[in-house]
Amino acid sequence: MNNKEFIKLEKSAKRRNITKNTVIYTFLTLWGMIVLFPFYWMTLTSVKSYGSYNAENVPSFFTLSPTLDNYVNAFTNVSLGKYLLNTLIFTVITTAAMVVVITLAAFAFSRMQFKGKNLVFTLFLSLMMIPNELVIITNFTTITNFNMRNTFAGLILPSVMSVFYVYLLKENFSQVPDELYYAAKVDGTSDLKYLIKVMIPICKPTLITITILKVIECWNSYVWPRLVTDNQDYYLVSNGIQELRENGQGRENVPLMMAAVVIISIPLIAIFLVFRKKIMAGVARGGMKG
């Protein structure tokens, strides 16, 4: 081969590269638009007034007279504020309780020696395969029998435990070298103090990831809250938004609904943008949409 042929080869390779990149970017951008369009549409619709939205026989892709009325109405006409508060209480208590429970359990599994440890741990692991749908039926009956429907206790208690996170945290705890524990023991540190002062700070990244994933799960939970609450005072956002829709009877106030959807979505999107790397790494390690 001589030099002229090389130049030809190189040029055609370059051309092929450009075509390839164009195809890839077009494809990726297309999917990006499919992902983003619903977000754009809900924001756009939420700033259209009720009247102007309903006057649109052909949907328009922008609005010249944006209004924030729908956002105001979302808090005054509809008790969205109440739903948000409920969801916040539910999320905070459930997540906090879960973190305490799984930390203690993971510590026992990773650090302590006791009879039946392997058996209990195997049992824990096998419970990961049990789908929620199988146990939710009895839980519903249990909560009803204890008269805990329409209470926070009824909402929270069955949602606290997560076997998978015990497993995840136990794996992380086990990576802390034994020497640290023995050193602390020699200094006369109690187990609990060791857990709080040494283990938790070292495993903080995992704990934060678990916390965020649980917060997302709580914020979006729908099925269980729907079963145990039929009083609007205890609705979470998912149920609230569903209620808002069903009561419209075909002639819903769409811009108001969209304003509510935007308000519900903002907290999680904000958390995601702040903790982007942590969340994506955490999910990659085995988070499933709960």
């Binding site: 081969m1 030099n3 090389f6 190189e10």
Partner: protein
């Protein structure tokens, strides 16, 4: 196949984005590898030896300079058209394929008139496997093989297409000490039997010296010296090469030259034919020391290590640039372990003088 590297230069953009200056990995490298030789590229990590290998393979493109295989200019040729075989440091064996499938893999890519039938491929794979002595293990998966066996599969895969040039990147670094000795003999044997021009990269001078026909010593992207191993060892062109080659390492002293005599500290060692110099670096190979009661070099005896065939005498000298001087002498010599001082005379051909500023070798006649 003769391989010619002409003014080869490779620059990388600086990883630290604030610094605009490029990092020069290989700087103006010119070298001709004669046909059928085994060449070792040697140097500390980061010296550009792996980059040089990747330039020859075509995985990297040079910033400037040219590469010729025989009379063909291959500088702009993609790797697959160069006719090379490359053995990766971690072997890069496909873990999901058997030994046979791994070796056949390159053959299955042949197209057109070069296309082989299944039987021909198996035949070729078996021939190569026999050459590297793998013929009993053809149906194993890589993770069922020892490190040495994996290494041989990697070599077989690189050889099966009969490359014009075989390249090996740190071929022995993942093996344990015993296997390393065995495998380097193996590489030498395979290279001899096939007669394929071979270039390998290593940071282990022992390895390079023992099997190469030619070694190339590199530092910071610049070639320091090229030559036959013994030649480079005996006549290093600068202090860096002298220090890099040889175990135990060469001992370096600060010396001076007055009226045709070489002084190490205050010890008048020998006569030299260079003009007076206030400061020179003097290197003495460990085997250059001769135990002699009235020798010129007086050292404080630290300890004596018996190694069977040889004795290693560890001592100190005020002018030495290292805390310890190591000398190797035959175990026939009787050393007084309790003495506080030892005296040496020096073999002239094991004593090297370097410019204290540039580190370049000052060649001279010693008496």
């Amino acid at each position: 196949m003769r391989v010619l590297l002409q003014n080869l230069t490779k620059k990388f953009p600086n990883r630290n984005k604030k610094e605009k200056e490029d990092v020069i990995a290989v700087n103006d490298f010119t070298f001709e590898i004669p046909d059928g030789k085994l060449v070792g590229l040697l140097g500390p990590s980061g010296c550009g030896k792996s980059t040089t290998l990747n330039l020859i393979s075509g995985l990297l493109k040079p910033t400037s300079g040219k590469i010729f295989f025989g009379d063909d200019d291959v500088t702009n040729l993609p790797p697959e058209n160069r006719g090379i075989g490359l053995v990766f440091q971690n072997y890069a064996l496909y873990p999901h394929l058997t030994v046979r499938q791994n070796i056949i893999f390159p053959l299955q890519n042949l197209k057109g008139k070069n296309k082989l039938s299944k039987d021909q491929m198996n035949q070729k794979a078996l021939e190569i496997a026999k050459l590297v002595q793998l013929d009993g293990l053809m149906d194993r998966k890589p993770n069922e093989l020892s490190g040495g066996q994996q290494q041989r599969v990697a070599i077989a895969r690189a050889l099966v297409k009969i490359p014009r040039v075989l390249l090996l990147d740190e071929p022995l670094s993942n093996l344990d000490a015993r296997l390393r000795l065995q495998t380097r003999e193996e590489i030498r044997r395979i290279q001899r039997e096939t007669g394929i021009t071979t270039v390998f990269v290593t940071h282990d001078q022992d390895e390079a010296m023992s099997i190469s026909d030619i070694i190339v010593v590199m530092k910071d992207g610049v070639v320091q010296q090229i030559g036959a191993p013994q030649e480079v060892y005996d006549n290093p062109s600068n202090l860096f090469v002298a220090k890099f080659l040889g175990t135990p390492p060469i001992s370096i002293f600060t010396g001076s030259i007055k009226a045709g005599r070489l002084y190490i500290g205050n010890d008048n060692v020998c006569s030299v034919d260079i003009p007076d110099t206030a400061k020179v670096d003097v290197g003495i190979r460990p085997e250059g020391f001769i135990l002699k009661e009235d020798g010129p070099l007086a050292c404080k005896l630290d300890r004596v290590e018996v190694m069977g065939r040889d004795i290693s005498v560890v001592s100190q000298h005020e002018a030495a640039q290292t805390t310890h001087i190591r000398s190797i002498i035959s175990s026939d010599n009787k050393v007084d372990f309790g003495a506080s001082q030892v005296r040496f005379s020096i073999k002239p051909n094991k004593l090297l003088i370097f410019d204290a500023d540039t580190g370049n070798r000052i060649t001279c006649n010693l008496q």
